[in-house]
């Protein structure tokens, strides 16, 4: 098909991987445009199929004519992502690489783009493949012990099992950490901003994001809805959720806002508790602290230090940072601490663009390996946990069958009496 289209436009058969500088011909042999035509013969193309590439001058009318000409020659319009899908189906890219393409296109920050290209280059895949091959090696030894007890195979004793398993678990842990960084770049973190009415939540949000997004007024309880704003700090997207205050209210609209706040807090990766440093502690502050989910990390932000002449209040056992949303004082320090608390380790090198799917798979593998450690004395149960751990990892890179495993065993050991 591609060849026919190239021939129709070029007026003759194209040479593979040759840049033809040529007229682009219409159905009557008349030029539509002038430009470069490249023909890639399968499998040496992006998709692995025959591909023809046309580089013209552009312009709406010319583009339209060229498109019509190609359609008349039998082309059809590509669906979104179709080239990459074909590349994947033709085994030019594996799944993690294909996702890397999508991430590269979607990348909004340079850091994200860099890690996406790493995934596209197969770095993430090769790290996972390395994990898988370590796991296969251990499984091979365990399965050989189970299926060939009378053969001349290395009997993998408890000590060896323990050592190999520990090494694999370490590798999985490191990979998971790295992948989490990538996921942070891709998915960002959710930060909930809470505090009493009128402590300056909206102003702080404005200051952090540098834009006007929330209504700032002096009437307590203005912010009735959760307002979301995405900001980036060092390339890490932070989804800030500005919530209604947590105070008793009889206003039904405000009560709805409060319910929404609770819901938001449950999902947050970090809670910023905002206090007015110029005012003394009130029971409402204590109430807010009491209501926060214990499991989520939190940071106390003391706002309005520009209005505060004396000593800052310093509540026990909660980390705090003093800022002024109005003047910008302390904001850089807040930003840096914020990143640390959502888990950003600022090691840009070696980060892969990991998706939620990858994290789930790695986490699942990690927990199966932990289970394996618990049953290491029971070979067939140990083998079962290893099988499941590998199945989790395979969901990232592709399938591995029992027959492949047997192949490993037969190539390593002399099996057969």
């Amino acid at each position: 098909m591609s060849l026919a289209i190239a021939q129709g436009i070029l007026g003759k058969a194209p040479t593979t991987r040759h840049a033809h500088y040529t007229d682009f011909l219409d159905g009557n042999g008349q030029p539509i445009d002038q430009g470069i035509l490249l023909f890639y013969k399968a499998p040496y193309s992006y998709t692995g199929e025959d591909v023809v590439e046309l580089q013209g001058h552009g312009g709406v009318a010319v583009m339209q004519l060229m498109l019509q000409r190609c359609l008349a020659l039998g082309a059809k319009l590509a669906e979104p992502g179709e080239f990459t899908r074909r590349a994947y189906l033709n085994d030019k890219l594996d799944l993690a690489q294909a996702e890397g393409v999508a991430d590269l296109i979607d990348a909004t920050t340079t850091q994200a783009a860099r890690s996406a290209i790493r995934s596209l280059n197969g770095e993430f895949s090769s790290v996972v493949e390395n994990l898988v091959s370590q796991l296969i090696n251990l499984r091979m030894l365990v399965e050989a012990m189970l299926d060939f007890p009378e053969e001349d195979v290395d009997q993998i004793d408890l000590d060896k099992r323990n050592k190999q398993l520990a090494t694999i678990r370490d590798s999985v842990r490191v990979t998971l950490e790295t992948a989490k960084q990538g996921s942070l770049l891709r998915e960002g973190a959710y930060v909930a901003l809470v505090g009493q009415p009128n402590v300056g939540k909206s102003s702080l949000l404005n200051r952090l994001s540098g834009e006007q997004v929330a209504l700032v007024s002096d009437i307590p309880g203005t912010t009735r809805d959760v307002i979301r704003k995405e900001i980036q700090i060092d390339g890490v997207p932070l989804h800030i959720m500005d919530t209604a205050g947590l105070r008793e209210s009889s206003d039904s609209i405000e009560m709805m806002g409060i319910a929404l706040t609770h819901e938001t807090l449950q999902k947050a990766d970090l809670i910023l508790l905002l206090k007015d440093a110029s005012r003394a502690d009130s029971t409402e502050d204590l109430e807010i602290l009491r209501q926060l989910p214990k499991s989520i990390p939190r940071l106390l932000v003391l706002n309005k230090i520009d209005l505060c002449l004396g000593l800052l209040p310093n509540p026990a056992d909660t980390e705090s940072i003093a800022v002024s949303a109005k003047s910008g004082q302390g904001i850089d320090k807040l930003r840096a601490r914020l990143l640390e608390l959502v888990g950003w380790s600022n090691q840009e090198n070696g980060i892969f663009m990991a998706r939620e799917r990858h994290l789930i798979a790695l986490t699942d593998a990690e927990s199966k390996l932990a289970q394996a450690a618990a049953v290491i004395n029971y070979p067939e149960l140990f083998a079962e946990e290893l099988r499941l751990a590998q199945a989790s990892l395979n969901s990232i890179t592709g399938e591995f069958t029992a027959d492949d495993l047997l192949g490993e065993i037969f190539s390593r050991f002399c099996i057969g009496k």
């Binding site: 189970l146 007890p149 002399c414």
Partner: protein
């Protein structure tokens, strides 16, 4: 002439597949004819004199749970019984027996002769009668025509069999038997996917010339294991030991010097041999750094001196065989009774079969055993039983039984064969079964006997015994669940002795049994635990079930997830070239394999998860347009 009697099912071949097929078909109530070229060799063990082993023992127990003969015949003919992997867990634990060839053959023969509905006839089959892609019977060497509603082919290595010893070769089915040439030609004409495989045997040795004194002795287990769920140790004949010796570096030198006359290494043999059962010349070439390989000397029977040296299968010229045997410790003066040889034979790639083992191309024609590219008596028997049963079910116009992968090794075996095909002889291993923890030898009856009863292959005697056992398990389990152990009533020394630590609150006996290091026998010694059940099979079952419950439940979830794809059928007439988005390779593979379900398609190598999602989309679309066109019509 046309044979006057019309049969429901004809089974061609009297090996392990054929005999189980014929017995199953007859048990299921079909008038069955077993045709063999030689009635004297029914149930013959052509290779090593042993039955069972890891993965294989599992199959034998399944065949037994479905009323088959192999386990029972082994109990009557077995001269050494062992449980392998006994310390590694119940799922990989497996029974293996050395068998006296004659006693085993007799046990099979007597079952065949006494089976109701079953007729035996000695004639080599030359031709299949096929009308409009449906088999209607067979024709024999003498021109006799037998008509039947279904035919099961179990011809083993006999199809165009070719035996090699050094550079000499001659057509044969196995040493001493003629091959089936006409039938092989006829089957090739039917355009079934045919290929060539290779297997081999070692030279056999006269036991009187072996110096056992320098070898390691290996005895069977005590107490004596039993194979059949219906068997007992009293059935076993006198027991014999096996002996272990090994090759030396001189043996390896002798072999290397003969490689230039080896049919394997000079390219004369085209068929592919099994990686897990290599010839000795293969072993020393592929694992050149090993200076010794173990050899197991297995007695062939109580009434013969013949010994099977397991581990030196070879097709080297006889003079090399003689030297290599004499270079082995204890065999310096050994006399070879029969030369070792390799045999090449035709097989039909099982991707041409449905999961009932019926041919996709020719209706009512079933294939079982080595003809499908498997090795081993056990794999053959399991397929034979399934093919015979399904042939009978078809005659009775009932649905075929296609065991699932989570149900039986039999299901794993057939599914592997039809979705992956065969490129080397296929042998069962437990690592092939992803649901290994539930496919155990010990529960083969609980998994399959009720099903077998419904399908008509389990007789009253076995059914009664099974129901008694099942009820005893249920009763004892209930008793354990309802018997409570109170911490205040439990003396500390008893708690430490049985449980390893004191209990903090009240537990039922069943809960305590679930702990990994607690066993039934010692649990029953706790004060107030009551009387243990006498039947060890019952207590063992309760113990394993209680400990594996969590794993089995987790696997059940995995199975249920997979199950949705098992039930999504792909129509036979589906042309995969019409499925947009699939790569050419995938389209061709699917057209070649013609999987019956999405799940089968997913297990074909090279079929990616992405291709499966495209198939699902295509199925959904197709289904919608079909229903629209139906409602319009």
């Amino acid at each position: 002439m046309n044979f006057p009697k019309i049969f429901d099912v004809i089974v061609i071949g009297g090996g392990h597949a054929g005999t189980e097929a014929a017995l199953a078909s007859a048990r299921a109530g079909c008038t069955t004819l077993l045709l063999s070229h030689n009635i004297e060799t029914l149930g013959q063990m052509s290779c090593n004199p042993s039955i069972g082993g890891i993965g294989k023992g599992h199959l034998v127990k399944e065949v037994d749970a479905l009323g088959g003969a192999m386990a029972a015949a082994t109990d009557e003919g077995g001269i050494q019984f062992r449980i392998l992997n006994s310390s590694k867990g119940p799922a990989v634990r497996a029974t293996r027996a050395q068998a006296d060839r004659l006693l085993y053959k007799q046990a099979i023969r007597s079952r065949l002769e006494n089976q109701e509905n079953l007729w035996l006839f000695q004639q080599a089959v030359d031709d299949l009668l096929v009308e409009k892609d449906r088999v209607t019977g067979v024709a024999t060497q003498l021109g006799l025509r037998f008509n039947a509603k279904a035919v099961v082919l179990t011809t083993g290595t006999f199809l165009s069999g070719l035996i090699h010893v050094g550079q000499a070769n001659y057509p044969a089915g196995r040493a001493g038997d003629a091959p089936a040439i006409s039938l092989a030609h006829r089957l090739r004409e039917l355009k079934l996917p045919v290929g060539r495989l290779k297997t081999g045997t070692p030279p056999r040795i006269d036991g009187r010339t072996i110096n056992y004194a320098v070898m390691q002795e290996q005895h069977g287990d005590t107490p004596l294991p039993v194979f059949s769920f219906m068997g007992n140790a009293a059935q076993h004949p006198k027991q014999l030991p096996c002996w272990i010796t090994e090759t030396s570096s001189r043996t390896h030198d002798i072999i290397r010097s003969g490689l230039d006359r080896s049919p394997l290494f000079t390219g004369v043999i085209e068929g592919v041999g099994p990686r897990y059962c290599p010839s000795i010349e293969d072993k020393i070439t592929r694992f050149a750094d090993k200076d010794s390989h173990q050899i197991f000397l297995e007695p062939e029977g109580l009434t013969t001196h013949e010994v099977y040296p397991n581990g030196i299968s070879t097709s080297l010229p006889f003079d090399v065989q003689l030297d290599l045997v004499h270079s082995i410790k204890g065999l310096e003066d050994a006399h070879i009774l029969r030369p070792g040889y390799a045999i090449e034979y035709d097989y039909f790639n099982p991707i041409g079969l449905k999961s009932s083992l019926e041919s996709k191309a020719i209706d009512a024609l079933f294939f079982a055993g080595q003809i499908n590219g498997t090795t081993g008596y056990e794999e053959a028997a399991a397929q034979g039983l399934l093919a015979g049963l399904n042939a009978a079910l078809q005659v009775k116009e009932k649905d075929a039984w296609c065991p699932r992968r989570d149900q039986a090794y039999l299901g794993v075996l057939v599914d592997d064969l039809i979705t992956s095909g065969v490129t080397e002889p296929y042998r069962m291993f437990t690592s092939r079964a992803e649901y290994r923890l539930q496919l155990r030898e010990d529960n083969a009856d609980l998994r399959l006997t009720e099903l077998g009863r419904k399908l008509g292959v389990v007789d009253d005697l076995r059914w009664q015994a099974f129901e008694d056992k099942r009820e005893a398990i249920a009763l004892e389990e209930q008793r354990l669940r309802q018997t409570w152990v109170n911490p205040r009533m439990l003396p500390n020394e008893d708690a430490m002795r049985v449980l390893g630590k004191p209990i903090e609150h009240e537990y039922s006996l069943y809960e305590l049994l679930r702990r990994p290091d607690v066993n039934y026998a010692s649990l029953m010694t706790l004060p107030g635990a009551g009387a243990p059940v006498a039947d060890l099979a019952v207590s063992e079952q309760i113990e394993i079930q209680s400990k594996y419950q969590g794993y089995i439940e987790r696997q059940r979830e995995e199975i249920e997830r997979a199950q949705q794809y098992e039930s999504l059928e792909l129509p036979d007439e589906m042309n995969y070239l019409d499925v947009p988005g699939l790569s050419n390779e995938v389209q061709q593979k699917l057209n070649q394999f013609k999987p019956q379900t999405i799940a089968q398609a997913a297990r074909i190598s090279g079929i990616t998860p992405a291709a499966i999602s495209l198939l699902l989309v295509h199925l959904k679309r197709g289904f919608r347009s079909n229903t629209i066109s139906q409602s319009e019509a």
